[in-house]
């Protein structure tokens, strides 16, 4: 079965893959001690601050924690639409 699934392209991820993905997500939260809700608040406040200076594409914005080894890194990828007209 396994082999057939592999040969004909597997649609469903294995429980091993699901476990690994869930672990990676939950460990990012555990390590920085931040819930998804708190991350959303952080994101909202970032938008508010940055929008004061430049116009940004809020929908294209990505704020994530990444891991390299055991070091957590907060990465914000924010597309800029244009500079705000200076008053």
């Amino acid at each position: 079965m396994n082999l057939l699934k592999r040969l004909f392209g597997r649609q469903e991820p294995t429980s091993r893959e699901i476990a690994k993905n869930r672990l990676q997500l939950v460990l990012v939260q555990d390590r920085v001690n931040m819930s998804p809700q708190l991350l959303q608040t952080l994101k909202d406040e970032l938008i508010a601050v940055i929008s004061k200076y430049v116009e940004i594409d809020v929908d294209g914005m990505e704020v994530t924690f990444t891991q390299s080894k055991r070091q957590s890194r907060l990465t914000a990828d924010i597309p800029v639409v244009g500079a705000r007209a200076r008053r």
């Binding site: 592999r6 429980s15 091993r16 893959e17 476990a19 672990l23 555990d30 055991r70």
Partner: protein, 265 residues
Amino acid sequence: MSAIIITITSGKGGVGKTTATANISAALAMQGKRVVAIDADIGLRNLDVVMGLENRIVYDLVHVVEGACRPRQAMIKDKRLTGLYLIPAAQSRDKSAVSPQDMIDVCEKLRPDFDFIFIDSPAGIEQGFKNAIAPADQVLIITTPEVSAVRDADRIIGLIEADEKGPARLIINRLRPDMIQRGDMLDTTDVIEVLAIDLLGVVPDDESIIVATNRGVPAVMENNSQAGQAFRNIAGRLLGQDIPLMEMEAPSSWLRRFSRLVRRT
């Protein structure tokens, strides 16, 4: 002689701390080393039954700490393996009977007489865990390839780093090659990638561990136990021997090899 003090811990309960402590200690004694295993799980002692020494307890760790006896008097000598000793935990007390400094003091008294001191940590991250890691020169973390155990291991790794006891090394216990082959269990690479720490060894899920525990004889003393072999390998690595990870073949390994071949092309 000056012992290396090694604490075995996990965060989650029931993943094999006590089994690992008993087996690695016994394996090192089989290699001619002088080893004392200390059960730091006060109130829930178990290392004595796993090692098969439960009938000879007179004094325990709390007696030593409170000065009711000398460390030597609380050491139970394993009659089957020269050089192997156990200091049992107290059964009728709780974790607060011992402090981190007490553990350091006891271990320093024992250090000149041994090659290795192993400390079997209780589960959790509270006082008992803090007691167990206080004297450690090295920490071994044990986990199983399950989401809950790996998550708790990660928490423990963070605490050990914060305590500057790191870098800890990992033992993955109860691996099932058949389930990995089906895609239903995290494999060694997955766990190491997620936890980002060094691997010391991998132990297969093996009925012989239960049989050995039933008998009170460490599995490393059985020649045909796969898990026993894995623990002997771990002991060898602690002695600096270069031992490759054990090949764990699932029952129908030809199918796996074939499917690997298919995926590669």
